[in-house]
Subunit: 205 residues, 4 copies
DNA sequence: AATGAATGAGCTTTCATTCAT
DNA sequence: GATGAATGAAAGCTCATTCAT
């Protein structure tokens, strides 16, 4: 086996990057299974030999692209959070975050859904997604913790997971499955649901 | 194109069934992409020729199995609903339904997640799942409608979608991704979240 | 191996005939390679089992159909010859026969060309066609012989072959390949060519 | 779809050539339908992957081989024509050309007849053959035109087609069907027939 | 450092034919 | 006599990956 080339020179970095960009574009356009290595190198303008000196295999490439992509998703979701007084989480703030999640799903819808789908059949993909999920859930728990004086959530860990899942999943459905219903109505309903959970928490009948 | 064999004889029905059972088992065990037609017929103890006289192709077989499976999922989720006075939807009832959804995810977890994953790359699979989703959402709307006198949900359609998605998605995560957290805590949190939504609905600050 | 059924009863004869008719129709319509045994029995309204009790295999069926077909071709070409005073072969008579050959090519063009094509890769098909060719050439030689007092053909055998080939081949080209030229012009030219050969024979410069 | 490899390196050209040579040999030997891709690559000593990087599919390979072959046939038939004073077309010249056609049929008899047969069931093969036929007919018309002062052919176009067909077809028959008659007798008879047509043309009784 | 020719396991599907019922 | 379920060899083609140049 050939040892992988670790890009040190300027040109190397560029080549590696060109491959990743080309692959991302093709994966988004034609799906992951629908894209073969030859197409990638052709689009990137490099040889198949180069490809395999920068990436162990196609899967490795995908994982790297996915990591970059999920970083971008994370940033899109949370980047503007600093503008809020984080301990004044009201319905508006909840809604704002939800809207950011929906925006993040617009970055590369096909690639997003394609890779998301692979979680369930590919442990490596899943691992990358889990890392991202942990990050998101941690962020949510942080918000809950900072606002616990105003809230009535008893099981913060479970709440964070449930909230995260709900928003993700509705965004997912809205973008990929497309129930012919206006996104704003879904966002509003989500905001209500989550804000009510925070406000009233556990209310045994 | 060869016309498909419509089972008339006893033997025929058995063979068709054996193929479906073998395929279901292998799909669950090794994943759908990881199972080829040869393995299926070997497990079923029939010839490859038989396979293709009962099923147009591998995809058709998968779709048939999926339809059967989703029927089973639907029944598991809703079968005991008749025991409830449907217009007295309280937190307990909400929790009961959620528990049934979680139970349905135990029928064939791998197959469930495998096919669910394919929704995003395969329109045919998606169509079958969408039919199921519509059924479920309709059922939820029916419950909301019957309980609207006690509830404060303004946008029933959006609410039904959001509720359905949340439960599905949390069950999904719990079963397939496995966040190391007790399922009961997730179910409780979901029940709280949904019950609060129903109870308080839209509460602009 | 199952022994072949020799149709003796009325019903048997009918079944055998139905299979042949169905096969001929499908071969003509969809080509020989494009027709499979299942389609034939379905069109004939019999079972695949029946098929194989009347015909050793698909090839045997084809050969039988071909023999019948070539008989028909032969009849079409020569049936009206008795109306001529066979020893007064003039240009009109030559032309008349040529026209009949062209007509024979209209009986079942696709089947005709399909089987003709198979001559060169299938010795059995070729044998049937050769038998037919011999018959035709013999007929031509008979005409030449009966008119030799008026003609100047020295090598009757070679002439008969050359004449037969020319007419067949031009008809073939006209019907199957279709050079965008009027058939009548080709027929006239053929008539001239052949009549000149008969009239002037060998004319060393 | 994978893009085809365009040979750039020395090795590449060799491989492509080895495949074509092996295929030509096998097609000639065992027939086209009787040869599968695996046999071709085995004979060529290359991998099946190589095969499909040089040729889109088996059919494409056949078409390429056929084009090369028909070029060779054309050259064999007409190459020595420059030695003749083209406007002195006598019986000897006619006979010489016919002999060349017969020679061309000796290059690769089986392949020739195999592909010729496919004309009638395969439009692509037919197209290649039609291109060749047009070339030949054009050549004949050119001869007729240059000799029209000495000839009595009224319909040059039809005559060229009829002449071309006759020679082709008799050569075909002589080589593949093999009526046990001496080739020279057929060639002589053909020469007489064609020369008489040129000399006497249309002679209504 | 880069190239691209070569590899070959692996997959789906067809269809003539057999034979148990 | 008749049926049709079952068979399985055989074929064409893809694509991730290796390695000689």
């Amino acid at each position: 086996m050939t040892t992988l080339r670790t890009p040190k020179q300027q040109r190397s970095v560029q080549t590696r990057d060109r491959i990743m960009k080309a692959a991302f574009a093709l994966f988004s356009q034609k799906g992951i299974h629908g894209t073969n290595s030859k197409e990638i190198v052709e689009k990137a303008g490099v040889s198949i030999g180069s490809f395999y000196s920068y990436f162990k295999n196609k899967k490795t490439l995908l994982l790297e692209i996915l990591e970059d992509f999920l970083d971008q998703v994370y940033l899109t979701t949370w980047k503007e959070m600093e503008h809020f007084t984080i301990n004044e989480l009201g319905r508006n703030e909840v809604k704002f975050i939800i809207e950011n999640v929906f925006k993040a799903y617009d970055i590369a819808p096909t690639f997003h859904s394609q890779t998301h789908a692979l979680r369930y059949s590919d442990p490596d993909i899943n691992r990358v997604y889990e890392r991202e999920r942990t990050r998101e859930v941690t962020q949510i728990r942080y918000l809950l913790e900072n606002n616990k004086h105003r809230m009535r959530v008893s099981d913060q860990e479970a709440a964070a997971i449930v909230i995260h899942n709900s928003v993700e999943s509705v965004a997912h459905t809205a973008k990929f499955i497309g129930p012919r219903i206006d996104e704003q109505r879904l966002i509003n309903e989500l905001a209500d649901m989550i804000y009510n959970l925070l406000l009233h928490g556990n209310q045994e009948e």
